[in-house]
């Protein structure tokens, strides 16, 4: 699909809301080198939503939406949780799945798209909370990896069930006390990135959203590897400032603190040799194209 397909019938232009016109005129659909640097000077693919003021999930959403390589040919799959308050305001096709079912829905969707559009690229990206990914949806998450389904799973890890008031999740840290988990968690944080690697993911990364350039790099890599090779998984710390007792402006510092050496969100990534060869090849081609373009100028 190209941006042409979302052109508004001129007869209706005067009754189209301004936000929508901005999207048609200034969004970065169909731009091959789109990335976080476009924000501020183009219209982002998210409109006003109801997440709390200062919520890092909102920051992560912005960085991700700016980075996905082909938004016009992408379908996202969400699940219940705070992220589901954003999806109705996202300008990329998306499906809301029943809590936990997201990787099963994405499986069917990806296969159907490949069948219906055999000669076109169609990316599928799951984006769900930690409760949806590692607790209630763990079966669907893992089975999709075992089956080598070619889509990206992104987990917004805020280490608890935020949307329902702070219950314990598998990704919560050991000993953490939350409003609805007053005794403190008795078990270790589930090592889902390592489980993802062992379950067949071709690329896995753990990060926070404190550096948009890093988010851009890993999101592009995850989507492109899923397109060509196999399942990919990103786990992004998006602290729930409300449930961990932080002020609205403290989310960024919380993320920075959590990514220092030895901390649980210190950046790490796993990539299979096949996926690495694919990325190296792609980068070499890009470099050659650049050289050729500058030689022509």
């Amino acid at each position: 699909m190209s941006k042409e397909k979302i052109v508004i019938n001129p007869e209706f232009w005067d009754i189209i809301p301004q936000d929508y016109r901005d999207l048609v005129d200034h969004a970065t659909y169909g731009k091959s080198d789109r990335g976080w640097k476009d924000v501020g000077s183009s219209t982002e693919l998210i409109a006003e939503h109801s997440l709390c003021a200062g919520c890092p999930e909102s920051i992560a959403f912005r960085h991700i939406m700016a980075s996905i390589p082909a938004p016009e040919d992408t379908v996202m799959v969400g699940s219940t949780g705070c992220t589901s308050l954003v999806f109705p305001m996202v300008a990329v096709q998306n499906i809301h799945s029943l809590f936990g079912n997201q990787n099963a829905i994405a499986t069917g969707l990806k296969r159907a798209l490949a069948y219906r559009f055999p000669n076109q690229v169609k990316d599928v990206i799951v984006l769900a909370g930690d409760g949806a990914t590692v607790d209630i949806g763990l079966d669907m998450t893992l089975q999709s990896w075992f089956r080598q389904e070619k889509f990206t799973t992104i987990c917004f890890d805020n280490e608890l069930y935020a949307n329902t008031g702070g219950q314990e999740s598998g990704l919560m840290q050991k000993g953490f006390v939350a409003k609805m988990a007053p005794q403190g968690k008795k078990f270790e944080k589930v090592r889902l990135p390592e489980i993802a690697r062992e379950s067949g993911c071709a690329y896995v990364a753990v990060l926070t959203t404190s550096k948009p350039s890093l988010v851009e790099r890993v999101v592009k890599q995850a989507v492109l590897i899923a397109r060509e090779i196999g399942p990919t998984y990103l786990q992004i710390y998006t602290p729930c400032i409300l449930e961990i007792g932080k002020q609205s402006m403290e989310g960024l510092q919380e993320m920075r603190d959590s990514e220092s050496a030895g901390e649980r969100f210190k950046f790490r990534e796993f990539i299979t040799p096949e996926a690495q060869a694919f990325i190296d090849d792609m980068n070499a081609k890009k470099k050659a194209d650049k050289l050729a373009a500058s030689a022509n100028n």
Binding site: S41, E48, A53, G54, M65, S248, L252
Partner: protein, 70 residues
């Protein structure tokens, strides 16, 4: 009454490439670039008053953003 961020055009150094507030504001399309003047500006109707932009601008010693009552 609303609590919103306001950018002082004299103090903003977006002309030198600064984009910190635009990068970290949690709200989409909320802090934008005025490409003619080369300064950042706040779309007040989208601002939730979280003050994260003030934190990042102050930390870089630009001190171009203040919070205002409207």
């Amino acid at each position: 009454m609303y609590y919103v961020a306001e950018i002082n055009e004299e103090a903003c150094v977006a002309n030198k490439g600064c984009r910190l507030c635009i990068m970290y504001c949690p709200e989409a399309n909320c802090i934008m670039m005025n490409d003619e003047k080369k300064v950042a500006f706040v779309v007040e109707s989208r601002c939730k008053g979280c003050e994260l932009c003030v934190v990042v601008c102050d930390a870089a010693k630009h001190k171009a953003i203040t919070m205002q009552d409207r």
